[in-house]
Symmetry: C2
Subunit: 468 residues, 2 copies
């Protein structure tokens, strides 16, 4: 099939204005937040053949049916915030842009749910829910610009997963366009169901490899009325980690974040916040009714001290809370801009380990950083053992540092797997981690491939992601 004919056919399906082959478009749709330009020349050079913007389920269906007929790869994409290269069109073909499918179709408080299109931005959904006193809890760092579709595709988490769970826990039902163009509805719009295989939950986290999500029915929960935040610092990571299950048992925090001393140092350099640069820092948030929050915060303080915290402060005053959150909130930009000649690299930034292995993991990762002479800081979600390493390289020593970083990534993943953990807690596999799928899953990988084959026999949906 010739390319001109494909472009002209696609224009008939979605309108001329929604099909682009401009070099500029092909360029910007060739990468995402995974910093591939620095890492892999082959990926850096990949381009889609065409960008197609869709705004209805019917259009998605038409495009997929067409692509399936001619075996054209389709890479779904919205905000492009993937940290694993999930939206990079490595096999060319069509990039399907879902950003304009961004309607909040129904806010249904009576049934504790919302119905949204995939292009709705996470923060906008919560803005819309706020007047009703409800919210959709998963809160990835990119919530101001990431979309619900992408969150479902990667089973996104966030800081509050320790209390509120992850995206999967809120997906009740989905409308999905299958690779052959068929439109199915899966799950239900009831809060509970036991009606055969839970396809909705199978599509969650499938990273666009099984079909395109065109509508989601999401469970929503009441906004907490009050919050408080504590900062607790320890001379040992092991003490900090030991506190975590007890904090959960005694105070059910809505977030338990951690930072290592390198991250605190970066924050201090960036903000002049002057936070003591202890080995381990925890930030603990509690939410609920005002009086209850205070009672539980007292438990938090007592528990942290009991397990060896040397510096504990807390507040439920909004301004004071902002100060206490500084370390965590500003660690992202602080680590990104540590030195002008440094660039932050993604690839091994999302491992998770059983809680009890957190100190071993952090210690091992810090050693890996030293061994390869690369800057490596550990921050993340202590409540669910999810470690976001922040790794920067010196771009003036590009080639040498590339080699170092590739080896460091490999070692980090190896350590995570050896500690009984996973290579991705909430960012997905995409391109970045597909080499570890065999080690992660063993022969269960064959079952995944059998499912992929059953649903997408022509392998048109986001080919080359999760596995080859």
């Amino acid at each position: 099939m010739n390319k001109e004919k494909i472009i002209s056919d696609l224009k008939k399906l979605v309108g001329d204005e929604n099909v682009s082959t401009y070099a500029e478009d092909l360029f910007v749709y060739s990468f995402d937040s995974y910093s591939i330009p620095f890492l892999d020349e082959t990926i850096m050079k990949c381009r889609p053949d065409v960008v197609v913007k869709v705004k209805t389920t019917q259009q998605v269906s038409d495009v997929l049916r067409y692509a399936n007929q001619w075996k054209i790869p389709v890479t779904p994409r919205a905000a492009g915030t993937s940290l694993a290269g999930g939206t990079i069109p490595i096999k060319g073909g069509i990039v399907l842009d879902l950003r304009i499918m961004n309607k909040i179709k129904k806010i249904d408080i009576e049934n504790l749910q919302v119905i949204v299109e995939p292009g709705v931005i996470k923060a906008k959904l919560n803005e819309a829910l706020k007047p009703y006193g409800f919210f959709f809890p998963p809160d990835p760092g990119s919530e101001e610009y990431c979309t619900i579709g992408g969150m479902i595709a990667t089973n996104a988490g966030g800081m509050r997963a320790v209390k509120y769970g992850v995206t999967k826990d809120y997906v009740l039902g989905l409308e999905v366009v299958l690779p052959n163009g068929d439109v199915i509805r899966t799950g239900a719009n009831t809060l509970k169901y036991s009606i055969g295989y839970d396809l909705a939950k199978l599509f969650v986290g499938s990273e666009g490899t099984l079909g395109v999500i065109t509508e989601a029915t999401l469970k929503i929960v009441p906004l907490p009325k009050h919050r408080a935040v504590a900062l607790a610092q320890y001379r040992s990571f092991r003490d900090a980690t030991k506190t975590v299950p007890h904090l959960i048992a005694r105070a059910l925090p809505s977030a338990i974040e951690f930072l290592d001393k390198y991250a605190i140092k970066a924050v201090n350099e960036w903000t002049k916040a002057n936070i003591p640069e202890e080995v381990a820092t925890l930030l603990i948030e509690v939410d609920g009714e005002k009086e209850d929050v205070r009672l539980r915060m007292n438990e938090v303080v007592k528990t942290c001290r009991e397990f060896g915290a040397v510096n504990v402060q807390w507040s439920d005053d909004p301004n004071e809370m902002i100060k206490l959150w500084t370390a965590r909130r500003d660690s992202g930009p602080a680590l990104l801009r540590l030195r002008p000649e440094w660039a932050k690299m993604y690839g091994a930034e999302d491992v998770a380990v059983p809680l009890s292995k957190l100190p071993d993991a952090v210690e091992a990762f810090q050693k890996i950083g030293e061994k390869y002479g690369i800057f490596l800081a550990c921050i993340g979600h202590a409540g669910d053992g999810n470690i976001h390493t922040s790794i920067s390289i010196d771009v003036t020593r590009k080639e040498e540092q590339f080699l170092a970083i590739k080896r460091a990534f490999e070692e980090i993943h190896k350590v995570a797997l050896e500690l009984g953990g996973v290579v991705a807690g909430e960012h997905g596999i995409g391109l970045a981690r597909k080499a570890y799928m065999e080690k992660q899953h063993g022969n269960a990988l064959q079952v995944m491939k059998a499912i992929k084959q059953a649903i997408d026999p022509n392998n048109i949906m986001n080919p080359g992601k999760i596995f080859d």
Copy 2:
């Protein structure tokens, strides 16, 4: 392959003492809690060819590999509490009894998880967790005798799903023996993961049709320190239902149960409890810290009155709470033994609808009962729209009532689907509801069948359940 040879081969795999072809065994393994003897003569007459008890993953693997080779049906079973006929061996073959795989392998408080075999009885797990101050929340009515394996197979729920969710929300990882005998590990032993297709969640609710669960890693949560219960009665079901989302928003109850006047009447006859026989009764439980529970209970009382409750009482005194729970707790036995000549029938006992449709559903179901001259009461989980109809027939008028009940079941399911609901909230599809799979799922059913075909091409695993 001749039957004698199969029996003798199976004995070699699991030991003589674990293989039975005694008529008595074949009889007791031919039914479960779904009252099929009354309903369908063909099902009543079905028998397995052989009962095989297994106690290790290796034995399960050996038996499945053998069965797959000779295309022998395998029906996994533990406590046999299925209300949908999920463990009835309608195609004969092997019933695989997993009850003696009942070890709690690891209580891992540090990592907020337990590792169990499938035959562990739910209540025993919580007994074992109690000294640590933790529990596994899903709480089906049968929790004193049902097993974790069965709960996973059906995605069991219970009264506290409104706050704590269902079994699916607690399954982190599974060891599963596939139909071909391969042993896979799915999910993870971290609290969060995003590592490709979530096979663990696919096996949850698959009712033994994709493989045999031989080990589960389950998330556990801290036991609440305090509880309180309120009873609120209304002159209209619509008012009661309207209260529900507000109760959730204002007080996040751990249970919101409902009973209609027929259920209350039955409880009064059985217990002499003398509860006012109002149109709709809600029982609302709140749990948490003592002071917080009281504050939230005040919100509950205020909210119920605001939405028209005519009788509201609450208590956090243990003895008083037992009295308040009488209506719900004793409704089961009360409805079961209403008249000596009546028998309770399962089949349409588990529909769920969006919360806002609960009054329409209850009203429609009561009318269906009247239309067919059968006794029908509605109780259930108002917090998630799950209605357990209790339907009794007069066995002295057996044939005539059978016909009536079959039609009533059909109409109940039809109403549930028309109201945007599901035919099963927490009991599964099994045999009882497989006729509704097409209407429930439309063309998504083809995807389920494709997955079944991909994982179990010889259709040996629990054949004839969920779908044909």
